[in-house]
Symmetry: C2
Subunit: 228 residues, 2 copies
């Protein structure tokens, strides 16, 4: 066999090379053939920046970092990135659906973003807490006037979630109520996670609440009913 040894060695090498060449494909298959899923944490308070460029974009234009600074807005606010602008961008990426489950919602910028998505044909559904939806500056009434579906609890307990699901692919959740006070003054966190498992669990929670808060189940004047 001695005279064959170099051929054998070469053939083994060919075999190794063949197998190793398939390795990246095997790994891509194992990882689902995708780019790295989005994982981001935003910490607040956010620097106060101009967000006009994001909110005045042409319908369905892709929001990107470069469009923020090139907006040509002449206001005196800084025009760079901030935690709020990154949160807005994550929301404005929606193309099909947006589920919102929010204890308090009074930020004008976030309200405009949600209305913009509704105008673009994104299916927006909002769940909120009954005690906070009529507070001064709440965006809930404006969203309703714009034709967006809103449902609320009728419990003594709070609907205290603060999460959003973008296109059933990205979960946005954390401690942040969508108020200017929280955005500009509080220590807060928001996770942005492109993660099938977490999205599925939060979407199930949303659908449970959405069905439970169906207006056909609302009780009006419970005191009067009891006394009848």
């Amino acid at each position: 066999m001695k005279p064959l040894s170099w051929q054998v060695a070469a053939a083994v090498a060919v075999g190794l090379a063949l197998a190793l060449e398939t390795l990246p494909q095997v790994l891509r298959w194992l990882w689902g053939g995708r780019r790295r899923p989005r994982r981001e944490v935003l910490f607040f308070p956010s620097q106060v920046t101009c967000t006009e460029a994001l909110l005045q974009q042409a319908p369905r234009a892709e929001p990107s970092a470069s469009t923020t600074s090139s907006a040509g807005c002449l206001c005196s606010l800084p025009h760079g990135e901030s935690a709020l602008s990154r949160l807005l961008r994550a929301l404005l990426a929606a193309r099909v659906s947006l589920e919102l489950c929010l204890f308090a919602f009074s930020s004008p910028q976030l309200g405009r973003a949600v209305q913009l998505l509704h105008q673009r044909g994104v299916r927006v559904r909002v769940v909120t807490d009954c005690d906070y939806m009529a507070l001064n500056g709440s965006q809930i009434g404006l969203l309703r006037k714009a034709g967006i579906q809103v449902r609320h609890d009728q419990d003594l307990g709070y609907m205290h979630h603060k999460f959003a699901i973008v296109d059933k692919k990205v979960l946005i959740t954390g401690s942040l109520n969508w108020t200017t006070q929280a955005i500009q003054n509080n220590r807060e966190n928001v996770l942005i996670m492109e993660d099938e498992e977490y999205v599925r669990l939060f979407l199930e929670e949303f659908e449970r609440i959405w069905e439970e808060f169906n207006p056909t189940k609302y009780t009006f004047f419970p005191q009067e009913k009891k006394s009848q």
Copy 2:
């Protein structure tokens, strides 16, 4: 070359086999050779269950699901699993360190768990909001009396985070304030994530706040100082 073909084929096969045999090792190396990291979501309100078994365990015993139901407690509450018992178990797994960054902390069970960890020698550090630490039922005073380090803000904005970091390996974060009202009545979420990247980011946030809220920097009687 024809007479060599079977040897070549065999050698290619050997090469393929050699390469494929190393594949599992390569994959283990790529995945860090570990079990699947912990990923869990707890939704509240939690069923009210008896948590005595978890909180009366011998020091440093491993808290496990089986010990909960076998406690022999005779109280009338259910003795099964609940969102609160799972949160307690995640905390009681701490062996070295526990960082807490909590807007409001009044749950007696969670307070007992933190004191238990302190007694077991776990290094506990607590950051909280100045407006909420002296409220009725707050656990903060009890933790301080037990010798646990607590720091707080002096801002108008709220320290609104609600997260814990166990042994610098597991992040527990969400919408839940650690109060009985929130645990038993509110719609809330808590993520339990064994995830290096998220733990690192939240630990950095904790250390930033811990240093900023160093008592040597506290201002007392700012009004009087101004008028002097």
